[in-house]
Subunit: 246 residues, 2 copies
DNA sequence: CGCACTCTTGACCGAGATCAACATTCGTGG
DNA sequence: CCACGAATGTTGATCTCGGTCAAGAGTGCG
C-alpha cells in the first residue's frame, strides 16, 4: 500500500488491519458505523479532563496529544496521537475522562457514538478484542514512557522519543526512508519529556551533532537508526507491532 | 465488610464488586473458574518480560510490583499491585509481556488460564467490560504516574505516592483509620519514583517532619490527609473508584 | 512589514545524584 | 537466646544534570 492510497481507507480499518486481516463481515460492520467526521483546527481541545463523553473518536489525519495539568499549572503530555489512533477509547468504559486531548496540527477526526461501538463489540468479538488490545498498547506505551522519564537522562529520552514516534508513524504508512513529518514544537516536546524547553533544544542539537537525526522545519529524518536506538535504549517490542512492520 | 471476613472472599469477586454488584449468575461463573492457587515467596519474579503467558493471575494476598529494566541495568517500577489486582491481565490480548512482575512480600496468587478467562468474557459481557475497565484503570494510573515523575518535584511525588497507595488499599478494605501496611523498602520506592535511595530517604523525613505521615516498620499512617493531598497534588479521580469508596 | 511564536545561546543556580560512612533492624544458624 | 552478617535506613560532603532567567535570532503569518 502506498502512502497515497492509504489515506483513503477508513482509519479504523487501517489501524485494525495492522494487527490482523479483517473478514468481509467485520469490514462491513465497521464501514456501517455512523461516523461524524469533522476537521478541528490546530491547538484546540477535542475533549477535556472531567468530560463524560458519549462518543469516542478516531484520528483520520493530523497529530493530537493527550495531556494532564498539574496543580501548579504545569502540563504533562502523555502521548502524541497520529492517524488511526483512538486517544479516548477508554471513555467507552470509564465514564469520566482523566485526561484532555488537544490537537497539535489541524486534525480530521471521526466521532463514533459509544452505543454504536458497544454494539459492534458485542457482535464482532475479534473487533472487540482488537479494540481492547489497542487500549492495552497505549498502556504499554505509557509504561515505557514512565521508564523513559524515570530512569533515562535527557539525551536518551529524546532519542527514545524519536525512535518511538517514527516506528509508530511507519506502522501507519507515514514514513518514507526513515523520514516523516514531526509537527511538534520544542515546547510540546519538553512537556512530553519532562524537561525544560531550553534543555530540549540543547539535547536536540546534540542528537544532530552526533549525526543521529536531522530535524528541521517540522520534518524528522533518522540518519543512523542503529545508533539512535542504542542512544535511546529503544526496543520496539512494547509496541506489539506485527513482525512485518518492525 | 470487615477487613477480616473480606479476606475470605474470592479476590476477583471482591475486586469486581468494588465496581458494581455481581448477579448470581456472574458470581457463579467466576467461582467456577479453575484457579491454580499458590504462594510465592518474597522477591521472586512471577512472570518476566518476554514471557508469553498462557494464563493471567490475580493477587489474593501480598504486594507485588511491575517493573522494567533499562539497558544500563536500572530498574523502573511501574506499579505496586495489591490484593485483587491482576497485574498481567494484558497478556490476555498481548502475546509477549513487556514487563516483569515480581513479589515484594510473599504473595498468595491465583493463576487463571487465558482460555477460561476468554470463555468467561464471551458469556458474561459485563464481566468482560469490567476486566477491560480494570486494564483501563491501570493505564490511568500509569498516566498519573508519568505526570508525577515528569512534572512534580520529589516531595510532591512521594506525597502523591502515599495518597494513591492508601486510597487503593482502602478500596480493597486494607485500611483502618488512614493506616495500612506498606511493606515497601526505600530502594523500591526510589525505583518507582525515579529518585535515588538517598533522596527518597530525605523526602520521607521531610513528610514526617511536616507532620503529614508516620512511616515506620512497614506501617504507614496518614496524619493529615488534607495537607498530604495538597502537597502531593492528589485527586483520586483518575482511579475511577465508585463514589462510596472515595 | 510588524508582531507573535519558535528556536538558540549564555550565565548562573539548585534539586537531586553520587560517594562514603555509619546506624539500625532483622533473619538465621549456632 | 544470642551473635553475626546482610539488608535497610540515615547522615554529610560534594558534584552535576538540567532548570531558570534573560536576551537575541529566525520564521511565519495576518
Amino acid at each position: 500500500m502506498s502512502a497515497a492510497n492509504v489515506r483513503n481507507t477508513h482509519p479504523l480499518i487501517r489501524k485494525l488491519e495492522t494487527v490482523f486481516p479483517l473478514s468481509d463481515e467485520e469490514r462491513k460492520a465497521i464501514l456501517a458505523l455512523p461516523i461524524d467526521q469533522r476537521v478541528i483546527e490546530a491547538h484546540q481541545d477535542i475533549v477535556r479532563e472531567g468530560d463524560r463523553p458519549s462518543r469516542s473518536f478516531v484520528i483520520a489525519d493530523g497529530v493530537a496529544c493527550a495531556f494532564r495539568m498539574t496543580g501548579e499549572g504545569k502540563r504533562q503530555i502523555l502521548a502524541f496521537h497520529i492517524t488511526g489512533d483512538m486517544p479516548d477509547l477508554q471513555s467507552l468504559h470509564l465514564q469520566t475522562l482523566d485526561i484532555s486531548i488537544g490537537t497539535i496540527t489541524a486534525c480530521k477526526v471521526g466521532f463514533i457514538q459509544h452505543e454504536d461501538l458497544q454494539r459492534l463489540c458485542e457482535r464482532q468479538a475479534r473487533v472487540a478484542a482488537a479494540l481492547w488490545r489497542e487500549t492495552l498498547i497505549y498502556a504499554a506505551m505509557f509504561r515505557e514512557w514512565i521508564t523513559n522519564i524515570g530512569r533515562r537522562q535527557a539525551l536518551g529520552r529524546a532519542a527514545h522519543f524519536m525512535c518511538e514516534y517514527i516506528v509508530r508513524a511507519r506502522a501507519m504508512g507515514l514514513v518514507e526512508d526513515y523520514s516523516c513529518e514531526l509537527p511538534i514544537t520544542q515546547e510540546e516536546l519538553s512537556d512530553a519529556m519532562g524537561l525544560s524547553i531550553v534543555h530540549v533544544n540543547r539535547v536536540l542539537q546534540e542528537l544532530r551533532k552526533l549525526g543521529l537525526i536531522n530535524l528541521e522545519s517540522r520534518h524528522l529524518t533518522v540518519l543512523d537508526w542503529t545508533r539512535l536506538q542504542e542512544v535511546g535504549d529503544f526496543d520496539a517490542g512494547y509496541l506489539h507491532l506485527p513482525k512485518t512492520a518492525t
